[in-house]
């Protein structure tokens, strides 16, 4: 086990779930409750010193009971080390605590995650859509049940092939757009 992961497990035993090292990257999995204290320690304590936020992103696993995975990529400039913190959350309550109070750069990154995946960030100062229009109501584009083509205004054109059946069906297999059958 990586020494950083080990010290985190000792210090935050009720939040820490697991750690994994692959391809030279250290990933740790934590619970959504109480993760904010862990993030604050990662930033403030010189032992960790992850002062630089690289990115906040999310992955959708529609077949999993805990559907969404929020990934925080942090970097320590003094220690030259990168860590990925991953939080799994269910579909019916997709809420995690916002880290904007710790890393100000997270504001736009979390807004993008909200825009693309529909994950709420508790305590975010300005949680609005960022890339999609403010009044966009078709859903969240990067979820796996959002089709690649043929939804929204474009679909109302008479010359555009229509969907057959329910476009909201999750295919399970990524990249499968089999529900798209031109009429």
């Amino acid at each position: 086990m990586h020494p950083t992961a080990e010290s985190l497990e000792n210090r935050f035993s009720e939040v820490f779930l697991a750690s994994r090292e692959s391809l030279g990257d250290l990933s740790i999995y934590v619970r959504p409750e109480g993760a904010l204290e862990l993030f604050r320690a990662l930033h403030d304590m010189p032992e960790y010193g992850y002062d630089y936020i690289v990115d906040v992103t999310s992955v959708d696993y529609p077949m999993d009971p805990e559907r969404f995975e929020v990934v925080y990529i942090l970097y320590s400039i003094s220690r030259r080390h990168r860590i990925m913190v991953k939080i799994r959350i269910p579909e019916d309550n997709p809420v995690v605590d916002s880290v904007v109070g710790i890393w100000k750069g997270a504001e736009f990154m979390e807004r993008e995650v909200f825009d693309m995946m529909g994950i709420q960030f508790r305590g975010h100062p300005d949680l609005r859509r960022i890339l999609m229009p403010d009044d966009y109501e078709e859903g969240y584009p990067l979820r796996k049940d959002f089709p690649l083509v043929g939804k929204g205004w474009r679909d109302s054109f008479s010359f555009v092939p229509k969907f057959q059946g329910n476009p909201g069906v999750i295919e399970g297999k990524p990249g499968g757009d089999a529900s798209f059958i031109p009429s």
Partner: protein, 423 residues
């Protein structure tokens, strides 16, 4: 008689003055209660020449000073991340060209590096050198473009003509390499698309020899220009701690004195075999970031010269045929090779399951790809960490308190490209 008349006139004037001043008072009182004269909201963009694309900013102004600014992004959002989930890895490389269209080679490099990290693929020595050279040429091209347009935004027009003269020469070299000037699609997973011909090597040597004097030429145009200096010094200052906290990267971060450069921190390509310095600023203002980009061009030409000197011979593409295409001559004569070629095109190469983040130092900052693979030929999820997008997060902080005319220079100092920001 005369004096009596005169006193009558002065009294008349005095009476009128009193009436007028009462009237003025009344108007001013009415004004105060109905309209605010000192504060208003201004919409800038999305169509504005200084925004380098389509960027809209809402400005809350106090007179000419900026109190608050709210960037409104997404006018160039094309859903690259969504499209990538439906494409094979080789099909995504041309998509990355369209992110930051000013430095397409650097985007290609960032993407193929992330895929190679997932595949744990070793790239041949010559390919690494070619990639490093081309990435540094791209850095010079990008900084030349930035210098020209930044000076143009401020009003110094002539620099533009000089920098584009050199940029043209380098884009011609790209054209020889891969047939395209801007959307290059030159890097491949496991190497590059074609070998670097001797003509490019010779012309690069010749270019580097005169480039130092060219940089001096740009400097003489700008460093003695008092208007340009007044508009860049002590504008948009950000401290090192704030810059790190906002996640800024590239010259924008190094201008504040933080020596964060992935080429030094996590050496890739041939960067560990060449000697170069990372220029670092001290004030964190627009002038420092300008100076860093100028110095980076010097360092880049140093790197190119060392790489050209040391460039080994050998293959420019990996011989791992799980990812590389078979030789074209073989495809036409050998059945198995034809099937292999067909499968690579239709299904793409399989990438083992897992996820990784790989950041690359592009001219604009840290361009990272977070890729999740499920073992198939297409990425399950691909996230692009675009430096321009992260820089826009710090825009409000950096623009606060400066004049409305400085907005243009602050856009410029990020070296912002909306194709990358909105993806």
């Amino acid at each position: 008689m005369e004096t009596e008349n005169l006193t009558g006139v002065t009294e008349d004037i005095k009476r009128k003055e009193v009436v007028l001043s009462n009237l003025r008072q009344a108007v001013l009182q009415n004004l105060d209660s109905s309209i605010q004269t000192d504060q208003f909201l201004l919409n800038m963009g999305p169509q504005h020449p200084s925004t380098h694309g389509v960027l809209r900013v809402l400005l809350d102004l106090d007179g000419e000073r900026i109190k608050r600014s709210v960037p409104d992004l997404g006018y160039l959002h094309r859903g690259t991340e969504k499209i990538a989930e439906y494409r094979t890895y080789n099909q995504i490389i041309p998509l990355t060209d369209r992110l930051d269209y000013v430095s397409a080679m650097a985007n290609n490099y960032a993407f193929v590096r992330a895929v190679e990290k997932l595949l744990q693929l070793k790239v041949p020595e010559r390919a690494e050198f070619i990639r490093t050279i081309v990435a540094e040429v791209q850095r010079i091209v990008n900084h030349l473009f930035w210098l020209g347009t930044q000076a143009l935004d401020i009003g110094a027009m002539s620099v533009f003509f000089y920098t584009f003269r050199e940029r043209e020469e380098l884009l011609d070299l790209f054209e020889i390499l891969c047939g395209a000037r801007l959307t290059t699609n030159y890097y491949r997973v496991g190497g590059v698309e074609s070998d670097m011909p001797q003509e490019v090597v010779d012309r690069l040597y010749r270019f580097i020899e005169v480039f130092e004097s060219n940089i001096k030429e740009y400097n003489t145009l700008l460093e003695t220009n008092r208007i340009w200096l007044a508009r860049t010094k002590n504008i948009a200052v950000i401290t090192g701690d704030d810059a790190v906290n906002f996640g800024l990267s590239g010259p924008t971060l190094r201008g504040s004195g933080v020596p964060y450069d992935l080429r030094k921190f996590e050496p890739y390509g041939a960067y560990d075999q060449v000697e170069f310095d990372v220029p670092v600023g001290s004030n964190g203002d627009i002038y420092d970031r300008y100076w860093i980009r100028i110095e980076e061009m010097r360092e880049s030409s140093k790197i190119i010269r060392q790489c050209l000197d040391k460039m080994p011979s050998g293959p420019f593409m990996t011989d791992d045929h799980k990812v590389s295409f078979p030789e074209k001559g073989q495809v036409m004569h050998n059945m198995e090779t034809l099937i292999h070629h067909f499968l690579l095109v239709v299904q793409g190469f399989k990438v083992p399951p897992g996820d990784t983040y790989c950041g690359t130092e592009t001219p604009k900052g840290e361009l990272g790809f977070y890729i999740v693979s499920d073992g198939s030929g297409k990425p399950y999820r691909m996230k692009i960490r675009a430096p321009s997008f992260v820089h826009m997060g710090a825009f409000d902080h950096m623009a606060k308190g400066y004049m409305i005319a400085d907005i243009v220079t602050i856009f410029g100092t990020y070296d912002i490209v909306m194709g990358e920001c909105d993806r």
